[in-house]
């Protein structure tokens, strides 16, 4: 599983509350990603990081922020959770440097329910 740990694995929260999901890797890989998975939409990229303090937006970044203060941790924050953010969130790492090819490895996922 490429040493990826997501926490928490399940969370129920109320609308309007802040929520932070954590992704921790043990392999010091440079690239990390946050995806959400919803029926009929597959996986959609929220944010990604290409190094400490280097992050960028994906296709569904509205309402989310991220931080990466250490190589091993990539945090996803919902500043004010809404019901539309009920989803399964997956963290992934890409075992690569620019110019080389490899694939992404995924964490076990976090099921978030906003009530």
């Amino acid at each position: 599983d490429a040493g990826i740990t997501q926490s928490p694995r399940h969370k129920v929260t109320e609308t309007g509350t802040p929520v932070t999901l954590r992704c921790h890797q043990t392999e010091n890989h440079r690239y990390m990603y946050w995806y959400r998975q919803d029926p009929g939409h597959g996986l959609r990229l929220i944010h990604y990081s290409y190094g400490v303090k280097d992050t960028d937006k994906g296709e569904v970044s509205d309402g989310y922020s991220v931080s990466r203060s250490k190589t091993e941790d990539f945090l996803l924050t919902l500043e004010s959770a809404t019901s539309s953010q009920t989803s399964v969130y997956f963290c992934a790492i890409s075992v690569s440097e620019e110019g080389t090819n490899t694939e992404a490895f995924f964490g076990q996922g976090t099921r978030l329910t906003v009530v």
Partner: protein
């Protein structure tokens, strides 16, 4: 921006039937292509990948995929499915831009009946 289309949203097969799942992408440049599988309640796992070379790629568990550049396709095949292949299958494309981003298709749910 690139996109990935999986036209089969749900597929139901009997054991021992042959499988082919379609995947088309829209991008004119160099691409890396992937098929991932997600078993019920689990995370995504890599089935196979194509970066370059032989367009017929063999993956784990008897799966293979063929990259047809002229058709912008990367279809997944298995000659004889098993009940344990019941899962959701995702095609993904990464463009050769140097940024490590994957774009996923919407997935195909496969149900194999015993």
């Amino acid at each position: 921006a690139q996109s990935v289309s999986q036209h089969n949203h749900h597929v139901i097969l009997s054991e021992a039937a042959s499988l082919e799942l379609g995947c088309n992408y829209s991008y004119g440049g160099t691409v890396n292509l992937f098929w991932y599988v997600q078993y019920p309640g689990q995370h995504l796992q890599l089935l196979l990948k194509y970066f370059s070379g032989d367009p017929l790629v063999k993956g784990i568990k008897g799966f293979e995929a063929e990259f047809i550049k002229s058709k912008f396709s990367f279809n997944l095949r298995k000659p004889s499915v098993q009940w344990s292949d019941t899962a959701e299958y995702f095609c993904a494309v990464r463009t050769g831009t140097g940024f490590q981003k994957l774009v996923f298709g919407t997935g195909t749910r496969l149900l194999v009946s015993p």
